[in-house]
């Protein structure tokens, strides 16, 4: 297919190759290198020479080897068949590769991203004679029980639908219609189309972000919520819980579709997802989680240049589903590895470095990536969103490094992982002091509608306590807790309770793994009640010991494990018992 020689190799330095004698080539053109047909992309063009980054190991590649041009940019194939699939960084299906090359990924393997044999049942909704433009819906394919895949006119195309096939079974590359663009030009339509990964897909307009992406993780939903279409950064040193947090969100959040990008991280983590997701049930649909997940894996031992591309592959796929009116959430673990890939490639091209060896265009690249998130009115008229949750792996856990700092400029929600919390096995180790969400105020209306007005008052009160606790802890560190009056020690007690009973959430526990918003609101209310009534009781003379030794206290500590999401009556009982116990304490001191 590719036989147009665009030049010959001049120099090989790892994945970066200089090419000489360029005749005709385009910037970002997809290329094949050497007799092994390694996949690459043209990333720099200068007179008759060019620079190519190769997405596979370049061992054995030598000067004078030919470089072939594909005549199109590096693109992904978009159409039915992606759901439940695992791809590498440039959208090659890893299962299919394994069928060819067994346990190791060999070089130069060429497998189409979408299965060419499989037939999909297509139901046309557009009709011959319709005037259609890019993004319009031609028809549908029921891809999974829950996902109706809409077949779109490729964005950028426009014309009159000359013909469209009848309902029936088609492969992704069979013709399903003809679009007449003008008098002299027509285009054949298929179930799939291609889209260059570095180009954002167009939409009608951006919508305000008003609905939370519910993750089932209490510290996130209740304290630092993210909006559907929002952007989040999770920075943290190794072992603080970036991957676990992203996996928990991928499992339990209320998105229609998850694109999980394993970018330069462990092979076994991908295997873990592959082993676990199919058997987990999405609580909203009752179907396997794998039926709403697409995996992109460039593990840390796979070629670095494909790591750079994996992020764009993932976001382009997400945008494609957004354009069908889906709410998509992307997990990118870890964006630091992507930035480091940029750094390595830049270094090999001998570009001028800025901070810590990163190229000066790092912030621009980060901004461009996060800009592709959002809640949009798609070209088909429906609303969809892409939320991005990106892990950052700061060297030495130091948040002042360039990737963390630049990312912070372009995201609006920050879940800072804290080494001390992780060391104490307080999971998720999301710091309630360093984290923030700029979405909070626009989410409040949704919450109040969902769980009642009390929620915001409870939340505010508890956040305030957490901040007061810090100052009190400083005193305790100097003079010991005995120096504080009971009213203040009670604040410490309530904060400890809130941390143990609410903020800590065990991802491995069947019941605790996720909490509905109703459960979260009730749990929060119980703890806020303990605080309000308890501090009243102390003022009227009750002792701290008395409050802590109340039987209901242990029930509160363990309510997250004991009360299941689908029957919250246990929480009502605990609340009633708490009120009664407090009544008794008060009666004693009345």
């Amino acid at each position: 297919m590719i036989d147009r020689i665009i030049g010959r190799i001049k120099r090989v330095n790892g994945p970066v190759i200089e090419v000489m004698g360029i005749t005709d080539a385009e910037m970002f053109e997809l290329v094949r290198v050497g007799e092994e047909n390694l996949i690459g992309e043209l990333i720099k063009l200068e007179k008759d020479s060019a620079v190519i980054q190769v997405y596979e190991d370049t061992t054995g590649i030598a000067p004078h080897d030919p470089v072939y041009g594909a005549g199109m940019p590096l693109s992904v194939e978009l159409g039915p068949g992606m759901i439940g699939t695992i791809y590498d960084g440039i959208q090659r299906p890893l299962e299919a590769i394994r069928a060819i090359s067994d346990i190791y990924i060999q070089r130069g393997i060429s497998v189409p991203s979408l299965d060419r044999q499989k037939r999909w049942h297509f139901v046309p909704t557009a009709r011959a004679g319709d005037t259609v433009s890019g993004g319009a819906v031609l028809g549908t394919v029921q891809e999974t029980e829950n996902l109706q895949h809409k077949i779109l006119v490729p964005p950028g195309d426009e014309g009159v639908l000359e013909s469209i096939v009848a309902e029936g079974d088609y492969t992704v590359d069979e013709p399903i219609g003809v679009l007449k663009i003008n008098e002299s030009k027509s285009k054949e339509l298929q179930l799939m189309h291609r889209w260059p990964i570095r180009v954002q897909r167009p939409t009608r307009r951006r919508l305000p972000l008003e609905i939370p992406l519910i993750t089932g993780q209490r510290v996130i939903d209740a304290l630092f919520p993210v909006a559907k279409g929002g952007t989040v950064s999770i920075p943290g040193g190794f072992g603080t819980g970036k991957t676990m947090t992203q996996q928990a969100v991928a499992k339990w959040c209320d998105a229609d579709l998850i694109v999980y990008i394993g970018c330069g991280e462990r092979g076994n983590e991908i295997t873990d997802v592959l082993a676990e997701f199919p058997s987990l049930i999405d609580p909203r649909t009752g179907r396997s989680l794998m039926e709403r997940t697409i995996l992109i894996a460039n593990t840390s031992n796979m070629p670095v240049s494909a790591r750079e591309a994996s992020i764009y592959t993932g976001i382009t796929i997400a945008e494609y589903f957004r354009d069908q009116g889906c709410h998509v959430a992307i997990m990118a673990d870890s964006t630091s590895r992507w930035a480091e890939a940029l750094r390595e490639l830049s270094g090999r091209m001998e570009e001028m470095p800025a901070e810590e060896g990163f190229p000066a265009y790092l912030p621009t690249k980060i901004a461009e990536f996060y800009e592709r998130a959002g809640s949009m009115e798609a070209l088909c008229g429906q609303n969809g969103s892409v939320s991005i949750i990106g892990a950052v792996s700061p060297p030495g856990g130091d948040f002042s490094e360039p990737v963390t700092q630049h990312t912070k400029r372009f995201i609006r929600c920050f879940w800072a992982l804290d080494r001390n919390l992780a060391n104490a096995r307080h999971y998720p180790a999301i710091s309630w002091l360093d984290s923030y969400s700029e979405y909070l105020s626009s989410m409040t209306a949704w919450w109040e509608q969902e769980v009642g007005p009390q929620w915001f008052a409870d939340r505010t009160e508890i956040m305030e306590l957490l901040h007061r606790e810090i100052r009190l802890q400083q005193v305790v560190k100097l003079v010991g807790p005995d120096a504080l009056p009971d009213t203040q020690r009670f604040i410490l007690e309530v904060c400890t309770l809130f941390k143990n009973a609410f903020l800590q959430q065990n991802a491995f526990d069947k019941i605790d793994a996720y909490s509905t918003v109703q459960k979260q609101a009730k749990m929060m209310h119980i703890i806020a009640t303990y605080w309000r009534r308890g501090s009243e009781a102390i003022k009227s003379g009750a002792t701290l010991m008395k409050l802590k030794k109340m039987k209901v206290y242990q029930d509160i500590v363990k309510m997250k494990f004991s009360v299941p999401n689908d029957d919250l009556s246990g929480l009502d009982k605990i609340e009633a018992r708490l009120e009664r116990a407090m009544d008794q304490v008060e009666a004693l001191h009345a």
Binding site: V12, I103, Y104, G267, T271, S300, N301, R337, D482, F508
Partner: protein, 466 residues
């Protein structure tokens, strides 16, 4: 060297004279088109052959690194031959019980090694869909590992140590005692030494000898007095054999690599000479990917019975865990066993720091049917309590122990017992997992029952003794 390769080498063209020598690097101009990472032979004026590989190849010049170093090479007197192939190792089961240099050549005086298969020492990326997620509990007999940072077969779990700390003793103890309970399987140890002294290598040899397993061990030694550049290849040769033993010969292989800090320093040396832009502390930006290429070769594969468990040892410069070598390692490996100098000073062996140590794979390998049903909660409770001990100790150092509350006194006592009875053990003490867990409960009894938030009421009743 097998004959096949020799003939291939000789068929290559020979270039007389090199254009520049800089540290371990040589520059050769005007060659035929030479492939990236191709193996080369460099013959000095005395006819001695050294191996190297191509780091960069262009129409004008080739840059290569010479593993045995360049000392004694001259510009006009050096001859270079390119092999047209990457560096391979010919591997077989017969390599067990033998000693090799860092490039895989026998140095034990035995016969030349004849392999079954030639494998590219760089290995290839394992397809994540082919991996089997590791879940089998390995009992090391060491409480702080089995109880709190459980080792799983196929895991990569490094020891972050410091100069003069007993990391070799711990690694040797693990190698001696590690077992999967209830199974008898074929196992092998592959040992790679990078830049360590002779006595370290000797220590391991003796330890393997004493436990009668030396016939199942292959040693790859690139010691402190060997050229530093050879260290870059040593872990790759060792892992190439390990892959063969695990995934072709179906064995369970434990790979011990020491000291990875020396490896990283050699990498930095090459990078600096090549004038690459450094990231932190002069280490190249690709240190992460380079280490990952090594460590990711461990694991298990679907449908194959063997496994590679990786136990790299590294010394943290200045005991600083945020130094790039331990830091990047921790980002790649599946947890870490961190040593604490202070505990060592207090006579606690193994001096494993309670809080920064972690086994990421233990979650799926412990609990009912694997170790014991109370294990996950017990471990979590011990971590939580021990982390509070640290706070109390800090507080005590400010306000004095007398000023502490009774509860805080309980915590101090817990901390003491935890370190001295649970963590501390003899170098030949092999505790069963039940002993370890029971001991965990025993030290927890220093705390009042209300403090135990992370264990269930049933567990308290059964093990704490209400």
């Amino acid at each position: 060297m097998p004959d096949a390769k020799n003939s291939r080498l000789l068929s290559g063209r020979e270039y007389i004279g090199v254009d520049k020598i800089d540290g371990p690097l040589i520059f050769v101009r005007k060659t035929h088109p030479v492939g990236y990472r191709e193996l080369l032979e460099c013959v000095d004026k005395n006819g001695h052959v050294r191996l190297g590989i191509v780091l960069e190849s262009s129409t004008t010049a080739v840059v290569a690194q010479v593993f045995e170093g360049t000392s004694g090479l001259t510009l006009p007197g050096t001859r270079v031959r390119f092999s047209g192939e990457p560096l391979t190792l010919s591997v077989s089961r017969e390599m067990l019980g033998r000693v090799f240099d860092g490039l895989g050549r026998p140095i034990d005086g035995g016969p030349p090694q004849r392999g079954d298969v030639e494998r590219d020492i760089n290995g290839m990326a394992i397809n994540p869909t082919a991996r089997q997620y590791p879940r089998d509990f390995v009992q090391t007999g060491i409480s702080v590992i089995d109880g709190m940072n459980t080792l799983i077969r196929g895991q990569k779990l490094p020891i972050f140590s410091g100069n003069g700390l007993p990391h070799n003793e711990l690694a040797a103890q693990i190698a001696r005692q590690a077992k999967i309970r209830g199974t008898a399987t074929e196992f092998a140890v592959v040992f790679a030494a990078m830049g360590v002294k002779h006595d370290v290598a000797q220590f391991f040899v003796r330890s393997f000898e004493e436990s009668g397993v030396l016939d199942n061990v292959a040693l790859f030694l690139s010691l402190a007095d060997d050229p530093s550049i050879e260290r870059l290849i040593t872990p790759r040769t060792a892992l190439t054999l390990a892959e063969h033993l695990a995934f072709t010969e179906d064995m369970h292989v434990l790979v011990i690599m020491t000291d990875m800090t020396n490896y990283c320093e050699s990498l930095r040396e090459i990078s600096t000479i090549r004038g690459e832009i450094p990231s932190r502390k002069g280490y190249p930006g690709y240190l992460y990917s380079d280490l990952a290429e090594l460590y990711e070769r461990s694991g298990m594969i679907k449908g194959r019975p063997g496994s590679i468990t990786l136990l790299p040892i590294l010394t943290m410069p200045n005991d600083d865990i945020s130094h790039p070598v331990p830091d990047l390692t921790g980002y790649i490996t599946e947890g870490q066993i961190v040593f604490e100098r202070d505990m060592n000073g207090r006579g606690i062996y193994p001096p494993v720091a309670g809080l920064p140590s972690l086994s990421r794979l233990m979650k799926d390998g412990i609990g009912q049917g694997m170790t014991r049903e109370d294990h996950p909660h017990l471990a979590s409770q011990l971590f939580a309590a021990y982390s509070y001990v640290k706070d109390v100790r800090n507080l005590a150092s400010v306000i004095g122990e007398e000023e502490l509350t009774p509860l805080d006194h309980d915590y101090l006592e817990f901390g003491k017992q935890f370190e001295q009875r649970f963590v501390s053990q003899r170098k030949d003490e092999d505790r069963s997992i039940e002993q370890t867990l029971d001991l965990g409960w025993e030290v927890l009894r220093t705390l009042p029952v209300e403090e135990l938030h992370r264990v269930t009421d049933e567990e308290i009743e059964k093990y704490y003794g209400a």
